[in-house]
């Protein structure tokens, strides 16, 4: 298995606050890799760097051997990186189906002219995209919500919609920002099964940020721990569980 994502010495500061300090990490293909750490450790910042929404001060990111930082944010998805968000992003005014269909935006070819004139090409493409969206909705078990406005649905369903949207983009690497937050135990188990299923089915690599340690321990094959923007530990779930530094970071230092 080769390195899919290679992060080297990434540093980023916001004003006086160092969000990431000399951070390095490698993710192997077809693994489930988790990123954990206390709040404010810099996890979401890292995702934003990978998505090229934010530019790091120093460092490199390589994806499939390519320099990612040179790619504009709207092309990231074309190269095969898809993501979800901590506070779910459901576009208001759109139904579940339409939200899903946006996942295929980058692979569609109808522009504003064809769309506005409703040419045969545009109509055919719309139909095809609709079918694909319907298929994945069915697969995820949310087909009954297809025509409901996405923002009105409960969080559990919204997370599935977001997952479906990011899967439709046929990514190689899927970034999940706290996918289990807001879910109850039953939903979490279902989500974990779902992720494993899709990882197998689409040969995905998953990188997820999570706070729920149990969820992570059961799911991830490799874990990286962040605190104050720096990597403090890395390894298999067992190794991390017994790592003193990790325990300290989460529970705080005993001697004040």
């Amino acid at each position: 298995m080769s390195e899919l994502l290679d992060i080297e010495n990434l540093s980023l500061s916001f004003g006086g606050l160092a969000a990431l300090q000399d951070f390095s990490m490698s993710i192997r293909e077809k693994t489930i890799h988790a990123l954990i750490g206390p709040n404010g450790a810099g996890k979401s910042t890292l995702f934003n760097c990978i998505s090229c929404l934010v530019c790091p001060d120093r460092g490199k990111i390589h994806f499939k051997g390519m320099d990612l930082l040179r790619v504009p944010p709207y092309d990231i998805i074309k190269h095969g990186i898809s993501r979800t968000y901590q506070n779910i992003v459901m576009f208001p005014g759109l139904t579940v189906e339409q939200n899903l269909m946006i996942g295929l935006h980058h692979s569609m070819k109808s522009g504003s002219l064809r769309g506005g004139l409703r040419t045969k090409f545009a109509r055919r493409e719309e139909k095809m995209v609709k079918e694909k969206a319907g298929a994945i909705a069915k697969d995820l078990g949310i087909a009954e919500y297809r025509y409901r406005p996405a923002v009105e649905l409960p969080i559990g369903i919204q997370r599935l919609v977001e997952l479906g949207r990011s899967l439709l983009a046929s990514p190689r690497l899927l970034l999940l920002d706290e996918p289990a937050s807001g879910l109850n135990t039953k939903e979490k188990i279902a989500l974990a099964e779902c992720l494993i299923k899709y990882k197998q089915k689409y040969e995905l690599t998953l990188l997820l940020i999570e706070h729920d340690i149990d969820f992570v321990m059961g799911l991830a094959q490799e874990i990286t721990v962040l605190n104050f923007g720096m990597k403090i530990a890395e390894g298999t779930p067992d190794q991390i569980q017994n790592n003193k530094k990790v325990v300290e970071a989460y529970l705080g230092d005993d001697d004040v």
């Binding site: 916001f14 004003g15 979401s44 910042t45 934003n48 929404l53 934010v54």
Partner: protein, 305 residues
């Protein structure tokens, strides 16, 4: 050299009046969060009411101004300002506040509606014709310093502008209510949690803004002639001033107003009067393209996605 100083003095004076309008705009923006397009029309009513009180009639023929004076000049001006303050409070209470909760876009539209309503109503009651308005001093009395001619009127306007700004500043910084207003302007929600009566602050800010606008209108009416939409151009220049100085602060408004006034004055004397507005607005576009928050930056904290 004397010409230059004269031009500068006139520029600063006009700039001061623009600043009054701009301060009104900024005050309302900071406390209510909306851009009040009706500011000019509300202000416009003050000279109309002043003249009506002065002559006791609605006809406002020029001769009447000289022959019929039922009360002293300054009393009429005060009356005009008082009326305008009441109008401002009414607009705030009846139109803006109910809409504010929905969307600020609606509030802005509502202000445009108020603008239309006031302009046409004034046009109905007092007719659309141009009126003359008596200045503070007879326009043609000058005094001279080393070859520079400055009219008494000009000095009076400058004095009034400076006094009002100082009064406002003292109120905002030295009084308890002024502090409450500044807090609300910074963070409305936090201010409410501190026990500040947001409704009172809103009302007072509108009262102040209307008073300042009305004062600006009274000072400009002699020069621009009185007709229902005479403050429209001034209002827009007020916007320009706030943008030049940065939409966020009163100091910015003052700075922007003075800069605009001086630049306009210089341009009209040394280049041509034709391009005055084109220049002003091109300047705005330029500033907005480069730095949207003007010369004095609004404090911003960078946030992540």
């Amino acid at each position: 050299m004397e010409d230059l100083i004269q031009t500068l003095v006139i520029g600063i004076t006009m700039g001061g009046v623009y600043a009054l309008t701009a301060i009104g705009i900024v005050l309302l923006y900071k406390c209510s969060g909306i851009v009040n397009f009706a500011h000019g029309s509300i202000s416009m009513m003050s000279p109309y009411i002043a003249i009506t009180m002065l002559t006791g009639t609605f006809s406002l023929l020029t001769d009447d101004l000289v022959t019929k004076q039922v009360m002293p000049y300054w009393l009429a001006i005060v009356g005009g300002l008082a009326f305008v303050i009441v109008i401002g409070l009414m607009v705030e209470r009846l139109v803006v506040r109910p809409i504010l909760n929905r969307s600020h876009l609606h509030a802005v539209l509502a202000c445009l509606g108020v603008l239309m309503f006031l302009e046409y109503t004034v046009g109905w009651i007092w007719t659309d014709d141009d009126r003359t308005f008596p200045p503070v001093f007879n326009e043609y009395s000058f005094f001279e310093i080393k070859g520079v001619f400055i009219s008494y009127n000009n000095m009076a306007i400058l004095a009034i502008v400076i006094t009002s700004i100082i009064c406002l500043q003292l109120f905002l910084t030295r009084t308890k209510f002024g502090l409450a207003m500044r807090c609300t302007a910074e963070d409305m929600d936090a201010a409410q949690m501190m026990g500040i009566n947001y409704k009172k602050v809103l009302a007072v800010s509108w009262a102040f803004a209307s008073a300042l606008g009305g004062l600006a209108a009274v000072l400009l009416a002699p020069q621009l002639l009185l007709y229902p939409s005479f403050m429209m151009g001034v209002l827009i220049k007020g916007f320009v001033a706030t943008i030049i100085g940065g939409f966020g602060s009163i100091y910015g408004a003052i700075l922007g107003g003075v800069v605009l006034g001086v630049l306009e004055s210089l341009l009209s004397v040394y280049v041509s009067t034709q391009f005055k507005s084109i220049f002003a607005f091109s300047l705005v576009i330029l500033i907005l393209s480069i730095n949207p928050t003007g010369l004095i930056p609004e404090r911003k904290f960078s946030r992540e996605v």
